[in-house]
Amino acid sequence: MKRTIFYSAVCLLFGATILYDGILYAEESKSAPSATDIIAYSLDNIILFISAVLVFFMQAGFAMVESGLNSSKNTVNILFKNLMDVSFGVIFFWFIGYGLMYPGGAFEGGWFGFAGFMVGNEAPVAAGGTLHPQADFLFQAAFAATAATIVSGAVAGRMKFSGYLIYSIILTALIYPISGMWKWGGGWLNALGFHDFAGSLVVHAVGGFAGLAGALVLGPRIGKFDAEGKPKIMPAHSLSLASLGVFILWVGWYGFNPGSQLAFAGSDNTNAVLLIAVNTTLAAAGGAAGAMMLTWTLFKKPELSMALNGALAGLVGITANCDTVSNGSALAIGLIAGFIVVFGIKMLDKLKIDDPVGAFPVHGLAGVWGGIAAAIFGGKDFMPQIIGSVVIPIWAFISMFLVFYLIDKILGIRVSREEELKGLDITEHGEEAYSGFQIFTVE
């Protein structure tokens, strides 16, 4: 190969630098970015930017999954909620949230801190692994919007649009950044040794448990449970769009997990990213396979909507631990997540909780599973994993329950019976999603 020879030549001319990753050198000359430092800086920041783009793409996936799995009469409403989640999410996370989540070293090990409003634009001294604040913000903002958008599925079909916007702003500006700070902002959970690589807990469980709180405050949709409390079918209006959404989410997750390495140059980083990417893939595959096989056994027919949720659960489950488990473990984590989601959905039905898209089993339960799996398969200490996997959900659930409760008391959170029956698209927005199509609910 010409290429290899060329590099070898370069290498010789540069002095046959015999260096391996990780050899320790005491002296640092931080103020002097070498050409290599600058290239590493560019590579790190540009690839993080590309990862952020992939994570933003997940918004399209969530919009398709959540609207697809619901009835056509609430489609505009769900799509609109998703659009505003990302729009308001970005704006408020930029204005307040980022400063709360990354308050800086002064608050290390703490519970709460604030670095000030808005996001800086001062370029750091270029070096591999050093992130420009704008790059870091973009990536984190995409995560915040993800946490917010998870809830719209759980509260679909009955929550007022105005109340939803308030919820969405509070989550991205306050609730998510505060618990996020505990781990990723260098807070007390981080100090404790809690490991959550890309946010099974920090992102997904927050969204999932917030969704559970919303579903509880709202109560089930009319017709979801019959007089005897037996669950009834409220079927998906488009499994095509839901499937498309899952494929998009799967793709977007390659920004979510590998991107969370936050640095890409240097062979340690590169190697980590690649393992993470393969683990993410195997967990998604395992989740889909697990849920598919379980529904086949339990219900005698392989069910697509469950397998789709299974793939997502696999992805959520691997998120906390993708950097620290083997390929085989990743597959196992995914498979188990696929089982969890099926049982979780049945459990909600038993408890008469109505979570139309399964946001709680997929993001809440599989999120907790991800945190625990980091101990079981990833060699992390059990104690910190258990604490983190319990405290973050509790925080999200209680704080958001309060938020939903207050929204209810002050504004009323649920649309009227008639509005719900007619559908939120017509009553809240005066717009139908599928004009001209004959859509007909007969049972």
Binding site: G223, K422, I426, E431, F440, E443
Partner: protein, 113 residues
């Protein structure tokens, strides 16, 4: 033989079917339509243009019955569909000259049930 055609609110179909079952009427043909009656519609905006929608979604149930079944069938439909609100719908009854079962070519009373 009579043909009973009821125009009802879509979300009352389950109740009507339930009531019909109790009245031992299990055969029917259901379709959808848009209805314009006393019930006020709603207004839709699209890109800032307002539009009055006065054709509302309705469900149509058609049941062919022998004459002695007309009364119980009508009562069952009313029981299932009535809420006392405008828009509850109407029942239209007409005479059938003949009913034929395609499978067996049976006619009349035997075919209807």
């Amino acid at each position: 033989m009579k043909l009973i055609k009821a125009v009802i609110q879509p979300h009352k179909l389950t109740d009507v079917k339930e009531a019909l079952k109790e009245a031992k009427v299990t055969k029917m043909t259901v379709s959808n339509a848009l209805g314009c009656g006393q019930q006020a519609g709603y207004s839709e905006t699209y890109r800032g243009v307002v539009h009055e929608v006065n054709l509302l979604k309705k469900t149509v149930i058609e049941i062919a019955v022998n004459d002695d079944f007309v009364q119980p069938t009508v009562e069952a439909i009313i029981k299932g569909a009535n809420t006392g609100n405008i828009g509850d719908g109407k029942i239209f009854i007409s005479t059938l000259d003949e009913v034929i079962r395609i499978r067996t070519s049976e006619k009349g009373k035997e075919a209807i049930g």
